[in-house]
């Protein structure tokens, strides 16, 4: 204790820490039936930190390029001490992170935490999800194995369906007309430099918003007197709970990495025929599966174009939810928005399940 305070004093002499202290003391987290879902923001943050650490470690050995990408990943997995662990954790953590971010998003949606004054937090969060998906898509190609090669080929091809601008965008994505080493270089640059930079900034803004506005209280508390509201201090109570959960998540990651090591597959061979059953990563599966169900032509419009346009519109509406679900009578729940949310969750689960078969 003495030591701690000594350090604090030393720091306080040089930097005025009273503000931070103040924030740490003042910040509190509502405690209610649904507060469990509040932890997923923190879990996402933790997984992002894991991604940064393991990602930097992988950078120590990874070499992009047609002749080295696969070989260097293989080298990491087989030759480098604990390389198998780092790589497996990076892959597992990436997937769990996206899962956690999605859960976080739906929990915010259903608790209406996006409403005034937190619209900007929602927008930045949505942007973070989009960045996560881009991270996943670009990172998937980096081991340059058969599955990732063809998944990238198919994934970028879908972009080309969009009229007029689709094809140029696809070519920019691919850095050429086909998925080649040039694509790999481009995705590599995106994955390790561009996306982390943007993500860190957006994440900082996202956290700043939360810090400034405090943690959203549930709808049901609107009419409650202050005394009936049950809070716990953010520090140390909530933080320690967070850390406890992070520890558990870390252990889960380690177990997954040891017992279900992420497979490397075979090296991509651009001349080989596409293997059976190419499908994207699970978080794109519901869109992929939906597009399959679209008829080839609907009223002389290409089915795929229509499908992608619909997903675009749906995504935009989802993004703009603070606009159309903003005004509700005091205390009343907007049931329609909840039903839409439940519908979306069910739709994603069912189509992902069908696609995963």
């Amino acid at each position: 204790m003495n030591k701690e305070s000594k350090t604090m004093r030393w720091l306080n002499e040089r930097y005025n820490l009273s503000l931070i202290e103040h924030i740490a003391q003042e910040k509190k987290v509502p405690q209610f039936r649904g507060s469990f879902w509040y932890y997923f923001g923190g879990v996402s943050l933790f997984l992002f930190i894991v991604q940064v650490v393991t990602g930097i470690l992988l950078l120590m050995y990874y070499q992009p390029g047609a002749q080295t990408a696969y070989e260097s990943v293989r080298f990491i997995v087989t030759k480098v001490e604990f390389g198998w662990l780092i790589r497996s954790i990076h892959s597992w953590s990436a997937n769990l992170m996206i899962l956690s971010v999605i859960i976080h998003m739906f929990s915010v949606y259903f608790t209406k935490a996006f409403r005034r004054p937190r619209e900007l937090t929602w927008y930045s969060g949505f942007l973070l999800l989009a960045l996560c998906l881009t991270f996943g898509f670009s990172g998937y190609l980096l081991p340059w194995n058969t599955l990732s090669y063809f998944a990238t080929k198919v994934g970028t091809e879908i972009v080309a369906v969009v009229p007029v601008i689709g094809k140029p965008i696809m070519e920019i994505l691919r850095n050429g007309s086909d998925v080649t080493t040039a694509t790999l270089t481009r995705f590599y640059g995106l994955h390790v430099a561009v996306l982390p930079a943007i993500f860190t900034v957006v994440l900082g803004v996202h956290l700043l918003f939360i810090q400034v506005q405090g943690i959203s209280e549930p709808e049901s508390w609107k009419d409650l007197p202050e005394s009936k509201k049950n809070h716990i201090p953010f520090f140390p109570n909530f933080v320690l709970r967070d850390v406890l959960l992070w520890l558990i998540v870390l252990n889960v990651l380690a177990i997954l990495a040891v017992y279900f090591p992420w497979e490397l597959g075979h090296k991509a061979d651009p001349f080989a025929p596409a293997p059976m059953g190419i499908r994207p990563e699970w978080y794109f599966l519901f869109m992929f599966q939906s597009l399959k169900f679209f008829p080839a032509k609907i009223f002389s419009i290409d089915g795929e174009v229509l499908g992608i346009s619909l997903f675009g519109v749906a995504g935009l509406l989802w993004f703009l939810v603070p606009f159309w679900d903003s005004k509700t009578p005091k205390g009343a729940r907007n049931r329609i928005a909840n039903y839409i949310g439940i519908g979306v969750v069910l739709y994603i689960i069912v189509l992902t399940a069908i696609g995963a078969r």
Binding site: Q67, K79, V80, E81, F82, I86
Partner: protein
């Protein structure tokens, strides 16, 4: 230390000590693999299973080029008929590096005069076996050689 109940205090400090110990142990568990990760691996270069041997423009019939394929030399031959063939450039006799001899139109090893034909078959001299053959594919301008 203004705690009146000494039992309580000792329990608390005990927990704190344990917690400190746990954190240290945890840090060790996390840092150990990370530090180990930086150890120099046994083989410093990943061995590729395919390599770009060069550009089509750089080759003319009846010529050959030795290039690096992983940790071994390989030879790409543009035969007098203009066909591209690639082999391991390691002589099957005593592991010297072979070369293309335009005058003989054969692959030749300088060490003991072993001769291979343009299909990699050992046709004279001491080599006991043919040269390992690689797959050649041309994509655009690049000649890609791979171990099939």
């Amino acid at each position: 230390m203004n705690v009146t109940d000494t039992g309580k205090m000792s329990r608390r400090t005990f927990l704190d000590y344990l917690l400190g110990f746990g954190v240290v142990a945890w840090l060790a568990a996390v840092l150990y693999p990370i530090i180990d990760y930086f150890k120099v691996p046994p083989q410093t270069e990943p061995a590729p299973s395919s390599v770009i041997a060069g550009s089509v423009k750089d080759f003319k019939p009846n010529s050959g080029k030795v290039f690096r394929f992983g940790n071994e030399p390989a030879i790409l031959v543009d035969t007098p008929n203009g066909k591209l063939e690639a082999f391991s450039a390691v002589c099957t006799h005593l592991q010297c590096t072979v070369q293309y001899r335009p005058d003989m139109q054969k692959i030749w090893c300088a060490c003991h005069g072993g001769v291979y034909d343009l299909n990699g078959r050992n046709i004279s001299g001491p080599p006991p076996r043919p040269l390992a053959e690689y797959k050649v594919a041309v994509k655009g301008d690049e000649i890609i050689v791979s171990k099939s």
